[in-house]
């Protein structure tokens, strides 16, 4: 039983950043902007917020720690993501640049910027930015002591896990039940049609990309906090994995959450199998386990990409909006 709880707790560490970042990607792509820059936005969001935590924790006259600090850091991460996304948005919406290229540029810029800044302004002048993890919740009061459900969902956890679910619900609601969501989706499917009824395609696309920046930035912080003691200018490719989750999830929140859960669970088993006697004693080489998440993704993608799902991608994603084009 202990093993199941453990795997579940670890799954959330993988799943939550993937979920949040993929939802960010969803807003951007649903508005018609291909967002390959998720990795870079995650990285910069993580960098700025970890740097912020580092500075606050080492400042002598500031007594701020624990969850208030984490929530502030999330805001910092979101703000950084928004600023980064502005670059992407400006290039690809206002200037009609190729969306993939401006995304790649951000991905290349991000680690270099993080290393450079950390080395110049950091306390230790190294590329690693350290932080004290004072954010872990051993057990949520009351809820954590419920049998079965407690250890599964409410022990050894972070407030970010619940924030992730909140973001999921709000995103799904915003996308399907609000005027904003309808207009956003319209801009991703047929921007000229949206424009013809008075929706500003540029504004909607800016909104989509900036939202994606905010969520990706937060996702970066959420990935780093439980899994490291410092930020080392990398988010280990999770931005690209989130992109895969987005596609796997067919650009729909209710499927993205399942895709993120699927991927997170496989990752947790793949990485944690060596501490599970039942799996370890099978004698299967560790390399096999490391392949599992990726092979499974390929297989599931191949199966689900047939028929209706193939057309799930927003029709106008990747095309700069041209008013004159009908």
């Amino acid at each position: 039983m202990n093993v199941i709880y453990f795997i579940m707790q670890q799954t959330f560490f993988f799943m939550m950043p993937l979920l949040i970042v993929a939802l960010g990607g969803m807003f951007s792509e649903r508005s018609g902007i291909v967002n390959i820059a998720l990795e870079g936005k995650m990285l910069l969001g993580a960098f700025a917020s970890i740097f912020f935590i580092n500075q606050v924790q080492s400042a002598e006259n500031v007594h701020l720690d624990g969850h208030p600090l984490l929530l502030l850091a999330l805001l910092v991460a979101a703000a950084t993501g928004v600023v980064t996304a502005l670059l992407h948005a400006f290039a690809s919406i206002t200037l009609n640049a190729n969306q993939v290229i401006s995304g790649v540029a951000i991905n290349m810029l991000a680690p270099a910027f993080a290393i450079y800044t950390a080395r110049i302004f950091g306390e230790t002048n190294t590329q690693q930015v350290f932080f004290n993890n004072t954010f872990r919740i051993e057990s949520v009061p009351v809820l954590g002591s419920i049998p079965f459900i407690g250890p599964m969902f409410f022990q050894n956890t972070y407030i970010t896990t619940y924030l992730g679910f909140l973001i999921l619900i709000v995103s799904a609601f915003a996308l399907y039940k609000t005027k904003f969501g309808l207009r956003l989706r319209a801009c991703g499917e047929h921007p000229q049609a949206a424009d013809s009824v008075g929706v500003s395609v540029y504004k909607m696309r800016y909104a989509g990309v900036l939202l994606s920046g905010a969520l990706a930035g937060m996702g970066g912080l959420i990935l780093i906090i439980p899994t490291a003691v410092n930020f080392n200018a990398t988010v280990s490719g999770y931005g690209f994995l989130a992109l895969a989750v987005l596609i796997f999830g067919a650009w729909k929140p209710q499927r993205i959450v399942l895709a993120a859960l699927f991927f997170g669970l496989l990752q947790a088993i793949a990485a944690g199998h060596s501490g599970i006697p039942a799996l370890r004693d099978l004698g299967i080489p560790v390399h096999f386990y490391r392949m599992v998440p990726f092979v499974a993704t390929l297989v599931v993608l191949a199966i689900t990409s047939s028929g209706k799902a193939r057309n799930a991608a927003p029709r106008a994603a990747g095309e700069p909006y041209d008013k004159g084009n009908r």
């Binding site: 202990n2 093993v3 453990f6 670890q10 560490f13 993988f14 600023v83 502005l86 400006f90 206002t94 080395r119 110049i120 302004f121 230790t124 002048n125 190294t126 590329q127 690693q128 350290f130 993890n133 872990r136 050894n156 540029y202 800016y206 990935l223 439980p226 899994t227 490291a228 003691v229 410092n230 080392n232 990398t234 280990s236 999770y238 990752q267 947790a268 793949a270 990485a271 944690g272 199998h273 060596s274 501490g275 599970i276 006697p277 370890r280 080489p285 560790v286 490391r290």
Partner: protein, 394 residues
């Protein structure tokens, strides 16, 4: 909209400037101060006379150029690892003796780039060039024959001249470390401390990491025998992470071990070690660091298996300036040369004492205890163990 964006950009820039200003008085970039010279000479277009010009500022007029140079691998001088440890050795010796010294950072991470940097150092007057890390094997292999009058100190590697066997010319010394002894001390200390369930996570099964691992296992075995434990009382989970970079997967692997009951994990895995420390913090368990004293990285680190970079560089430099450069040899820094050890001052042991450490260190140093130096990904399975049970993962 455009105005709004422009305004935002300006604000960001202004913010960055303010951040600069605020920090300037607190951060002195010590690298530049220590370097006695232009620290940016590594750029391709840097001229040799650039460095010459700086020497004139130096008080000791006796030197023609800068006689001690260190070329960093792609990392930087404050990487908390090889470059930093070696550079500290250079600085310690050079400042003690008033000798100008500098470091050069290669412009690119290729053998040619390293060689360029070495040439630049020599044009700057270097008589002895320190190159930290096995990445320099090829470039030093070439440089040693190009510059027979210059001495080369290759840390943790042997010059590679494209043949099957490495060739150490008379003007080169290959500095190696007895990682197995360092690992041995860590394993010994962990068991003496009272731990029975241990773990080892290596980065990639390269010889240095393998020696750390096998030494760790043997140290645990040795301590277990001294304590008179029964067969199987000590278990060691043993795995290679397949990476030297930090990753959530390594964190989960370590967390799963801690969850299973492992008490302390020895992480000989570079940056991936930080993922192990994160797992240790979450599990309230312990870890052992590697290469340099990592005690500051996390409160969970009970000790670190050291390589004495600073001591070895210092020792070679004093040999050189005393006229006995050990050229053409492989110099293995082991316990007898103070090349390995545990940082007892910063260690967080509760039971393992300084006296016990001195005792085992002495026995390693005088050869009473011998540690296997076999390398290879399966080396840990071929050890002669009677008490320790190695749980191989891979």
């Amino acid at each position: 909209m455009k105005k709004f964006i422009a305004l935002l950009m300006v604000m960001v820039l202004a913010g960055a400037l303010i951040a600069c200003a605020g920090n300037d008085d607190t951060t002195t970039t010590d690298t530049v101060v220590e370097a006695d010279t232009d620290d940016d000479a590594g750029a391709d277009d840097a001229q040799a006379d650039d460095t010459d010009a700086v020497v004139e500022q130096d008080d000791s007029g006796d030197w023609d150029g800068i006689p001690i140079a260190l070329v960093t691998d792609y990392g930087t001088i404050d990487d908390g690892s090889f470059n930093q440890g070696s550079w500290e050795g250079v600085v310690a010796y050079a400042e003690e003796n008033g000798i100008p010294h500098q470091y050069i950072q290669p412009a690119e991470k290729t053998d040619a780039g390293y060689l360029d940097a070495i040439v630049l150092a020599i044009e700057g007057g270097a008589q002895i060039v320190v190159t930290p890390g096995f990445l320099f094997e090829v470039s030093v292999g070439e440089a040693q024959s190009m510059f027979p009058d210059v001495k080369f100190v290759l840390i943790d590697g042997r010059p590679d001249i494209g043949e099957d066997a490495p060739y150490i010319a008379d003007n080169t010394v290959a500095v190696l470390y007895a990682e197995e002894e360092s690992g041995f001390l860590a394993g010994y200390a962990a068991v003496m401390e009272g731990h029975t369930s241990l773990g080892f996570i290596g980065g990639i099964a390269v010889p240095a990491v393998v020696r750390f691992g096998t030494g760790f296992v043997e140290g645990a075995e040795y301590a277990a025998a001294e304590l008179g434990l029964a067969e199987g009382e000590i278990t060691i989970n043993y795995a290679y992470a397949g990476t030297f970079g930090p990753s959530p997967e390594v964190q989960t692997m370590a967390a799963s071990w801690y969850n299973e009951g492992v008490e302390v994990i020895f992480a000989a895995a570079g940056g991936a070690g930080f993922s192990v420390f994160a797992a240790a913090e979450a599990a309230g368990a312990l870890a052992i660091g590697v290469d340099i004293d990592q005690a500051g990285a996390s409160d969970t680190i009970i000790t670190s298996a050291l390589k004495g970079l600073e001591a070895s560089v210092y020792s070679i430099l004093s040999d050189f300036f005393a006229g006995n450069f050990p050229g053409g040899t492989e110099k293995i820094f082991d316990a007898s040369l103070n090349g390995v050890g545990l940082p007892m001052e910063t260690s967080r042991f509760e039971n393992f004492t300084q006296a016990q450490y001195d005792d085992i260190f002495q026995r390693l140093a005088n050869g009473e205890v011998e540690v296997s130096t076999e390398v290879g990904p399966e080396a840990h399975l071929n050890l002669n163990l009677s008490i320790v049970e190695v749980v191989n993962i891979g």
